[in-house]
Amino acid sequence: MLVSEKVAIEHGLKADEYKKICELLKRTPNLTELGIFSAMWNEHCSYKSSRLHLKKLPTSGKKVIQGPGENAGVIDIEDGDAIVFKIESHNHPSFIEPYQGAATGVGGIMRDVFTMGARPIANLNSIHFGSPQHKKTKNLLRGVVHGIGGYGNCMGVPTIAGQTSFDSSYNGNILVNAMTLGLVKKNKIFYSKAAGLNKPVIYVGSKTGRDGIHGASMASASFDEKIEEKKPTVQVGDPFTEKLLLEACLELMAGDSIIAIQDMGAAGLTSSSIEMASKGNLGIEINLNKVPCRESKMTPYEIMLSESQERMLIVLENGKEGMAKKIFDKWNLDFAVIGKTTNTKNIELFFNNEQVANIPVNTLVENSPMYDRKWKKAKLPKKNKIKKETYSKLKIKDVLKKILSNPNICSKEWIWQQYDHTVMGDTIQKPGGNSGVVRVHGTNKAVAASVDSSAVYCWAHPLTGGKQVVAESWRNLISVGATPIAITNCLNFGSPENEENMGEFVECVQGIGEASKYLNFPVVSGNVSFYNQTKEIGIKPTPSIGGVGLIKDYKKMVTMDFKEKDNVALIIGKTEGHLDQSLFARSILDEKNGPPPEVNLFNEKNNGETLLNLIEKNLIKSAHDVSLGGIITAISKMSIKGNKGIKLNKFKNLINEIDYLFAEDQGRYVIEVKQEDLKDVIKILDKNSVHHEELGFITEKDMIINEKTKVTIDELKSYNTNWLTNYMNS
């Protein structure tokens, strides 16, 4: 096929981008070369619309060993140990083919982590679906959950936490974000930077097939009615092969023969080889006849653009090929020397003894387009004046029932019971709590991780929303007694070519940056997923934040279940009664206007650090951050988990009782304290100027809100636990 502007546009390139390619090459590219450019220059791989803004995020800190730019971020957890982690989206493929889309999302992120030498020790996910009433939602949810479980369970890596939400803005574009944490020794981290000339380039893992060709380009475009036709762009996962690949790679990594290693993810052999060459400022030469192929007569174009899963590219020290091959033979995996590093600084491909592509590496990476897209600043919405009369007569118990059974609040046990969350024998906090927690095998340390997003807040005011998600992640880690260290972000947005969507992106990133800087909670890895839209309708802006923290002595970990009768429940942080954008306002009153709750970073930091100090002193029996659904939702969940009740003190606050119980003001936690420790706790809170109020005390089983309102623990459970199971079985 002759390459023309038309062919370039069919590859998802813009006319001026094609012109730039011809100028850079000083000739017209052939089809293979055009394919390579389209794979490297699409939004998914080049970050062309986001790079400019991502640069503003804080990415360094005392605990950061590796920030963005590698396969995953790495943080120091002391004693020579490090945690490698990252979150990544697999949204587009999961909508087209939910099982395989979600499964390969999980497989891809685990590969990113073990490419760096780390054994994966925990998986998390953040998944978002359309309205429960939408005809596709149920099957998509079932497929995605089966896919995540199918891959993670087979790999033997526990899925320890997650988040699931429903919102009609995801009707045409679901979100599937997968996160993995791996454990590595600080001095055994592997990177993707190639070094040295004439070093063998090795291909290991599965064979290359015709699946996933142009997957990255597909993920860089909006959906339309012809979306079903895109099915062949979805990759097919094989977790068994990945498990073998993991063990084989870790076995090879125990020695010192690897110079650089890179997994073949989006854009397959193309991006992996080019990234290694680019980072090492080298050239790379590949003989495509040597690439193990699953199907016959594959063309160079297909081999370079295939996104077949479970493959890795390695630059090895000379002379180590035989030893390395033995390991991969043992695990029944393909092993092929397919090329070598060169000093040409070009990527040169050969097929049937002919050169089929020759492109300077820098044209594909440094010279890739970068856009300063137009964006619109969002105004802070005016406070919504909801009339008190419209809800002051509502019965608290009726409202509570609706809130606890709301799809976005209800128990997600139907989902996480399908994930193996206990394999590896170190899970000490299962899904359904504030954060998942796994021990660092064989030590007293544990790592906590949480994944959060608040699309509604981000939609109402992106800057505040961006800050809020980071703050919520921080609170979730603190609530289990972990010191927050760093975050990874998955930025899911509509089209960057739409000024409003682009504005949402820019301002969410700004919010994330401000909060992570203030809280000393840097961003060490992440990914951007644009074009989550169908025709002109984009999703609500949904940055997902994956936070990681360290518990130095896991015996000090705190859980959220109420522990003991007569203990006192306190609320930390001030309740102003902010109802706008709360679940109460949106789902009970159907009021969708107004600003999200304000995020005061000073209070967040102060309240959080003070609580950590109390936990360190063993003064806290249970803790839970207050978020969606307000105080009453938080204490209901603590009651359900602990199978205990709570009697609230006589209400003497200046604000309305409903406002108090359902408001979503930020920076708050509910904590449980023993009577005899109360004085000490209050002293420390006062000393640090942390606002606190006594909420009530723990009872044997009933939740007594006021003289007229009593809810039994069984009622709470029935409100909260049944919705999802009933929905899936209906």
Partner: protein
């Protein structure tokens, strides 16, 4: 006491089993599926996981591994062989224990704590254990035990049912059956009671910080019985 844990391609509870056995005093060796000979052992464990990706049929390919010939002769000569989860599926495929394991009734993977009841203590695994109802952990997709009526009669006549799914009080009503197993069967023995296949994972319950400690009771008792 010496134990061996077999690692098949796709095993993923082999390390956990090694940790548990070592913790309770076994001198454990990890044995590769492609080896010919079994080291001298008082106990051989086939661990959980997804041997050969569960392709074809769970456990079927692993049951044909090189090492399995030695494991089978070891079992036939009276040696203790325990298969957990995928290990149980492998045992069923070798024919060392009767029956088959189908997909869970609701077609979903289940990971949760369950209660199990021990009926028969006249065997090396549960002899002397001073408890009848245990809290164990399950994590499987194909744990729905099934056999023919004739087989069932034989199993029952020979006291081969090792453990049943039940509730906290030890009741074995249908509602406490997580996967649709016939008779709530969670584990069975061979005729000689030296081979045990079971779906629950005792190795995940060996520490109060984990899901529970009933696994510790199991292993402590097991090593005492072998001594």
């Amino acid at each position: 006491m010496k134990s061996s844990v077999i690692t098949f391609p796709g095993s993923n509870c082999d390390r956990d089993m090694n940790v548990a056995l070592t913790k309770f005093g076994f001198k454990n060796k990890m044995v590769w599926h492609d080896d010919n000979e079994l080291p001298k052992s008082d106990l051989v464990v086939l661990p959980g996981g997804f041997s050969y990706g569960d392709y074809l049929r769970c456990g079927s390919m692993a049951s044909k591994s090189k090492i399995m010939q030695s494991v089978i002769s070891f079992a036939k000569s009276g040696g203790l062989v325990m298969g957990i989860c995928n290990g149980f599926q492998i045992l069923v495929e070798t024919g060392l224990v009767p029956g088959v394991l189908l997909r869970n009734k609701y077609l979903e993977f289940i990971c949760k704590n369950v209660f199990i009841k021990v009926d028969n203590k006249d065997n090396p695994y549960f002899k002397h254990i001073d408890k009848n109802v245990f809290e164990f952990h399950i994590a499987h997709n194909e744990g729905n035990y099934f056999c023919t009526q004739d087989q069932l009669k034989e199993i029952e006549d020979n006291n081969q049912i090792a453990i049943y799914y039940c509730n906290k009080e030890g009741q074995t009503e249908d509602q406490f059956n997580p996967n649709g197993s016939i008779k709530n069967i969670a584990g069975i023995f061979n005729k000689g009671k030296n081979v045990l296949g079971m779906m629950p994972h005792p190795e995940r319950m060996i520490d109060q910080s984990l899901s529970g400690e009933d696994g510790s009771l199991f292993f402590k008792n097991l090593i005492n019985n072998i001594k």
